[in-house]
Amino acid sequence: MTLFVQQLVEGLTSGAIYASLALALVFSFRSTHVVNFAQGEMAMLSTYAAWQLTAWGLPIWAAIAAALAISFAGGAAIYGVLVRPMTHSSVLQIVTILIGLFIALNSLAGFIWGYLMKSFPSPFPDWRWTIGEVGIGAEAAGIALLLMATIGALYLLLEHTKLGLGMRAAAAAPESSRLVGIPVNALLTVGWGIAAALGALSGVMVAPSLFLDPGMMLGVIIYAFAAATLGGFDSIAGAIVGGLIVGVAENLTATYVPGIGADLKIVVALVIIFATLLIRPNGLFGREVTARV
């Protein structure tokens, strides 16, 4: 029983990280209706930026905050330069550009910082509590708290501010919003900026345990895809629920299903993605989209 609860806790911890990257995917999806294949690499670059700031002497929380701001600007820039001109192109062209971005960003990190792993300082203290026989580290608790704070901030932004209302309108009905005078392009750009900042957050949370190298986010992004697919690509609640489910499923499958060790865990993501897309393509919380012929 203890093992189960322990694995559950660890699954929820990784699930929180997948959830925040899935949130990033959802935010960029709402702007463009395309899955941002490069989200993980953007997050990786942001994490490198944070690392560089700490290497230059900035305290860790200041570095993280600065990296979030830089990522916001970077995400907005990428949207404006690469994605918005392609809004009316075919899916193939947009996917191709995003994959090009994926490859280019990965190499950019290798070019600037090299391929040796670097250790990333953890923003959380090194404590560990035990409840009964289950241990919870300060890291896990900190990640959970950060995620909840993020969700709270996003909720306040989207539901209780004019900016948030505008963003929701711009994502849901861009043409009508333009007619009403909402600056749709600016708001979609803000959406991508927020997505980039969310990605940076997930990168920073995962870096202390995974160690920083250009391939760091390659595994995480697959689970984030699974989480966003499961929850529905246009649903924020879905991203969070999906992320937690994927994290728990990954951990429990690795522990309890014979034959699937740590190596084959990724198959769980494959199964989740395919099962969701074939059974309930819009995910658990996504909206059904019907198109007129």
Binding site: V34, V35, F37, G80, L82, R84, P85, M86, V91, L92, Q93, V95, T96, I97, I99, G100, L101, F102, I103, A104, L105, N106, S107, L108, G110, F111, Y115, N185, L218, I222, F225, A226, T229, G261, D263, L264, K265, I266, V267, A269, L270, I273, F274, L277, L278, P281, V293
Partner: protein, 357 residues
């Protein structure tokens, strides 16, 4: 009269060009270059077959597949296992690998092709990711992380050519057959059905194209091409391991297909040359530069020449007098085509940057 002359010129240029091409392919490359470069060209030929398969499903049918490397890996491992465990020769596994991948492609394609656009891309990308771990897991069959070493074949003694030359000419012959089959089947027979499927599925189905069947069968054939290419990879390299088939391989095939020209047979050749030789040149400068060139070239190609190198060549060769200018015999110079593309690109940018008034 002028038109007839020009047509004749085009034909004779083509014939002379074809002879020159054959001379290069059969003479210069295998016998004029050092061994290691012949090996690189052999790999380029192998990649061309793989990319041709990808062109079929992503270019002609329009279903984005980011998992092509997975079938390539399956083909390579089928050949390696047959050679390593069962002592087969290097040549017979090739059609076997093709068959296995045809079946695998059909099995995977039937459920997968019910997905659309970017969801299919996502699903196939995940397939590409799972190949490595699965290969590492079943150590008994696949040799695990260490891989399988099978060695490269020796040239037949009575031919009097070197080993790398023999391998190159062999894969070239197989590739030639694969390309011929593709050209005859696709460009003549199925092209209209497939492109109609890609461009407007609803209309295509109304017109009687059995979408599901065409898509699944094309996916199966495309995987078969990847499998044949994979088996040839084992023959050329002589060693397979899970690390030989990372996600980047699937993405490289995609890059090659796009840059070469997706809806074209010849595009596969340009794409293969790109993905084989650009990393070689770029890594002379800097290891990370290759990826940057890849990604940058992909983005540039999508913005400037979405039909790839093959499409650009086709545009330059086509007669520009479609009734509008009345001038016959003037060909658009490459620079004009390029400037026009830049102009339309700038237009798109200025539309997005200028504030709406």
């Amino acid at each position: 009269m002028a038109a007839d002359n020009r047509r004749k010129n085009v034909v004779s240029l083509s014939t002379a060009g074809k002879l020159a091409l054959l001379a290069v392919l059969l003479g210069v490359i295998p016998f004029g270059l050092p061994s290691y470069m012949v090996g690189q060209f052999s790999l380029a030929v192998v990649y061309a077959v793989a990319i041709l398969g990808l062109n079929m499903i992503t270019g002609y049918v329009g279903s984005i597949s980011l998992g092509h490397g997975a079938f390539f890996a399956v083909g390579a491992y089928v050949a390696a296992i047959l050679m390593h465990r069962y002592g087969w020769d290097p040549y017979t596994p090739i059609p076997v690998a093709g068959l296995v991948c045809w079946v695998a492609g059909l099995l995977f394609g039937i459920p997968a092709l019910r997905l659309r656009g970017l969801y299919l891309a996502l699903g196939t990308l995940t397939l590409a990711v799972t190949v490595g771990p699965v290969l590492k897991r079943f150590t008994g069959v696949t040799g695990g992380s260490q891989g399988l070493f099978v060695g490269t074949p020796l040239a037949p003694a009575n031919l009097g050519i070197g080993d790398s030359q023999w391998v190159y000419l062999f894969v070239l012959a197989v590739a030639g057959v694969m390309f011929l089959v593709a050209r005859n089947v696709i460009d003549r027979g199925l092209r209209r059905a497939l492109v109609a499927t890609r461009d407007n599925e609803i209309v295509a189905s109304v017109m009687g194209v059995d979408l599901a069947r065409y898509k699944s069968l094309t996916f199966a054939v495309s995987s078969m091409y990847a499998g044949v290419a994979g088996a040839m990879y084992t023959l050329v390299v002589g060693y397979v391991s899970p690390d030989s088939f990372p996600i980047m391989l699937s993405l490289s095939f995609f890059v090659g297909a796009v840059i070469g020209g997706l809806t074209s047979i010849s595009g596969a050749v340009y794409g293969a040359l790109f993905i084989q030789f650009v990393p070689v040149w770029a890594s002379d400068v800097d290891r990370a530069l290759a990826g940057f060139v890849y990604g940058g070239a992909l983005i540039a190609a999508m913005l400037l020449m979405p039909d790839g190198v093959a499409g650009l060549i086709e545009k330059l060769r086509r007669r520009p007098d479609d009734g509008r200018t009345g001038k016959t015999g003037s060909r658009k110079k490459a620079s004009r085509v390029f400037l026009e593309r830049c102009g339309s690109l700038a237009q798109r940018f200025s539309v997005s940057f200028l504030p709406k008034k």
